[in-house]
Amino acid sequence: MMNIPFTKYNTLGLLISSIILLVSITSIFFKGLNYGLDFTGGVSIEIKYKERADLERIRNSISKIEDANFLVLNFGSDENVLVKFQSDEELNINADTVINILDDDDYLGEVVKSETIFPQIGEELRDKGGIAVLVAIFAILIYIIFRFQIKFGYGAIAALIHDVVIILGVFSIFNLNFDLSVLAAILAIVGYSLNDSIVVSDRIRENFLDPNSKGSPDVLINKSLNQVFARTIITSFTTLLVLMALLFAGGAALYNFSLALSLGVVIGSYSSIVIVVGVLLKLNLSNKDMEKPKNEPEESYSLD
């Protein structure tokens, strides 16, 4: 078994996390997120041309439509064009308007995808996403208090918030497109990060409850971390293998999703070791906290 002095370096880990969190929060607060169409509302049209697309010609055609700021740019390759704009409240100018005008001017390729989203829908979606994360966090806190002990609950939630904020921070700092699929990824990270935190918490509890293991809480926690470390690395690695495949072969539609999830897996594993343990150490987790052990399903479990 490995013997890495995790707890010794815990303060250093917390310091690094604090700095990253601070940078993330600053960026989210001042720079904001680059919300995708799902959240802002508006119109986007992807058109594929047989040869190199003449962006000027498209811009000229579209400029006949009044009152809208159009963004016309290449997307992926120079045959693919993306037209994006914000429309008025009532969506009087929509994807059909643009497609028709290009068709009239005899310069319409194949419409690969078109989206028109009412601004109000986008706002609602953003609020709902936020609510989903909060409700999820709350439900998990309850489960962990029921199954473990409240200090583990604080540890798991702290790790979860840590992971989500950093991912949002990375998306904000690098101006990555934050769309619905990234929101789904963040919710998945909530699940994954928990998975890690629970595996670590489970082991810590087991060692605290085991009459044969002796030592200070610090020593016991360190022992637990060394016991689960190999598993943490292997699981993260295999999940990353699949995610890397998605990231590099999954195409544009899955790129942001797999990016957010990959980041989440790495940060989630890190936080289960640093943040969960940090919180437990700061809250002075002791044998006394375990005095009322909850029902242990393994005692009643037998398969052979």
């Binding site: 994807a95 989206e115 489970d202 999703f257």
Partner: protein
């Protein structure tokens, strides 16, 4: 000790066997096809049109695999996606008829599989291509209009009872003012007497001297909005069915929104026209023979066999006044349609039927339709027009009020169809499009190919790693992983679930969780071995010690998935569904399937040395 009983092995094997059977339809490739449905359901696709289509396609050098007419929609199976796209182009210019062409993929599931109910996965719009609409019901406007018309009826009632009043409606409130407090008192009495519905009171009444304020109670408001949205849903389903697209989705989302998804359809403009069209109903008395042509109008019946009839030009009431229509049976067991009108409609109906007993009352369905034709310069022109047809013309038996019935129908089918038309003919509340998404067929195909390729690559990488790291145990884990994938696919297919891109991502996450479960078990076994526990016990302890950790981790993730499903919309729901199913199957495969294989490999011999 690491031996399962025969029944345990056979139970696991039979679960896997059933899984394989229901996952099987997905490996048969589906063929590209076109589906043609007439925009107007009363027209029929005749053999002439069919042979014309076949001839035209053959002339263009496109090989038609098969042609099948079912429920007035024609499915043309073709050889390749290129053929499918060019056929769509050719056929969309083909006729001046009002029809919808949808791209479709026709599954080639063998008959014996279809007979036991096994079918391939439905693909979501992001994978199959198609159109997604989100419509919003303008509930505020609906309740305001309703309240204000009720205000008008109340004032009319008060005038009739002899106390004058005036009213003003502002948004969600109506203000009634009276000349004296006595008048106000009688009015309050009247309002309170009529302030009951099945679910409690209807108005919140506040009195201020000679003024009375009425507001809908929250209960009643949500009840009428609920009703309006449900009624709009029925109307939309009807219209979408008219499109004849296979596997359309019309679903309520949240309080006042309706999602419409039309897989394979690419022509958003014409789909929008049919879905968003405003249909309405008109109730008119049948004209007397003596009436001059200035006072009457000729209309066709919706059922062409019935010919036509003359109705008066005066409209007694319109579809907005119909609050409900249900088909049922009368005391003699004959089919009938029960119709409910609002107060205003009831009054109009009473007025119109008084003194007209024995005459007929006609119901006209007004539909907004579009026709496409070529003008002199050969440009395609689309023009919308109103089509009015009689859906019922029944004899008035008595003076009618807010609720009455139509009898003398030929059968229960006619009754339920008439009730449906009465309910669905008009939208209860105004609606608007708030979201629209068109996904081209090539993008959908690309998404599928890339999604599947990346999953395969991911799996292979994980397999290799697990084999290298855990050898025979890794082999068991890999086998469990494949079983997991099969089970997720079969459950999704069997329950008619829809696979979307986020759904694929959910499966990927499940793979991660399933591997984790096995890694936890193997890590425990290796710990036990290091503590000098003998191999058989180490295997046993490894599985049982890891169990609670695995359950805790999976249950919390399952909680998250269920919350996502409850709160999320569209794509997030898709993700939540595969994740939830995947978690449940991965607990089964990662624990039981792996265990049974490990037992099978190690349980029947003495192991002197075990390495993991």
């Amino acid at each position: 000790m690491n031996q399962f009983k025969i029944w345990q092995y056979s139970l696991i094997a039979s679960v896997l066997f059933v899984g394989v059977i229901f996952a099987l339809p997905n490996i048969f490739p589906s063929k590209p096809a076109l589906q043609i449905a007439l925009g107007n359901s009363s027209d029929e696709i005749n053999s002439n049109l069919i042979s014309n289509i076949e001839k035209t396609l053959n002339e263009e050098g496109i090989l038609v695999d098969s042609l099948e007419l079912e429920d007035n929609s024609l499915t043309i199976v073709l050889e390749s996606v290129d053929d499918q796209l060019s056929s769509r182009r050719i056929l969309s210019n083909f006729s001046d008829g009002d029809y919808i062409i949808a791209l479709k993929s026709e599954p080639s599931t063998p008959k014996w599989l279809r007979e036991i109910g096994a079918k391939p996965l439905n693909l979501g719009l992001d994978l199959a291509g198609g159109i997604h609409f989100l419509l919003e019901v303008d509930t505020a406007r609906y309740s305001e209009e309703r309240l204000s018309s009720e205000g008008a009826s109340l004032v009319e009632e008060f005038t009739k009872q002899g106390f004058f009043s005036s009213y003003q409606s502002t948004g969600d409130t109506i203000d009634l003012s009276f000349n004296s407090e006595t008048d106000a008192d009688s009015a309050i009495k009247y309002v309170n007497e009529n302030n009951f519905t099945t679910s409690g009171s209807k108005y919140n009444v506040t009195v201020d001297g000679t003024n009375i304020n009425l507001q809908y109670t929250d209960n009643y408001l949500s009840e009428i909005i609920d009703y309006a949205v449900e009624q709009n849903l029925v109307a939309l389903r009807n219209r979408v069915n008219e499109l004849g697209v296979s596997e359309p989705i019309v679903q309520r989302e949240g309080k006042g929104r309706i999602v419409v998804e039309l897989p394979g359809v690419q022509d958003s403009a014409s789909a929008k026209k049919i879905i968003g069209k405003t249909a309405n109903l008109e109730f008119r008395l049948e004209a007397r023979n003596s009436d001059s042509f200035l006072r009457k109008e000729k209309f066709q019946y919706k059922n062409p066999l019935q010919g036509s009839a003359f109705l008066e030009k005066v409209i007694v009431l319109s579809g907005d006044n119909v609050t409900n229509a249900q088909s049922s049976f009368d005391e003699n067991g004959r089919p009938q349609v029960n119709i409910n009108l609002d107060i205003e409609g009831g009054r109009a109906m009473q007025k119109a039927t008084t003194g007209n007993i024995g005459r007929r009352l006609g119901v006209i369905l007004v539909e907004e339709k579009t026709k496409t034709f070529f003008d002199e310069e050969n440009n395609v022109v689309q023009e919308s027009f109103l089509e009015k047809s009689i859906i019922s013309n029944a004899t008035i038996q008595a003076v009618l009020g807010t609720s009455f019935r139509i009898t003398g129908l030929t059968g229960p089918n006619e009754a339920s169809e008439l009730a449906l038309l009465l309910r669905a003919g008009a939208l209860a509340a105004p609606m608007k499009f708030v979201e629209e998404q068109t996904i081209g067929p090539t993008l959908g195909k690309e998404n599928i190919d890339k999604g599947v390729t990346s999953i395969i690559i991911g799996f292979i990488l994980v397999f290799i790693f697990m084999l290298l790291r855990y050898r025979l145990f890794g082999l068991s884990a890999n086998f469990a992983l494949i079983c997991n994938l099969i089970l997720v696919t079969s459950i999704m297919s069997a329950v008619g679930g829809t696979l979307t891109l986020p759904g694929i991502a959910g499966i990927v996450l499940t793979v991660g969780m399933a591997v984790d479960a096995n890694v936890l078990i193997f890590a425990r076994i290796s710990e036990e071995l290091k503590n000098n526990i003998e191999p058989q016990s180490a295997i046993k302890n490894g599985f049982s010690k890891a169990f609670s950790t695995i359950m805790d981790a999976n249950i919390t993730t399952l909680i998250v998935a269920l919350i996502l499903y409850a709160i999320g919309t569209g794509p997030i729901k898709g993700f939540a569904v595969t994740l939830s199913i995947g978690i449940v199957t991965s607990i089964f495969t990662a624990i039981l399937v792996t265990r049974s294989l490990v037992n099978f490999i190690y349980g029947y011999r003495t192991i002197s040395e075990l390495k993991i």
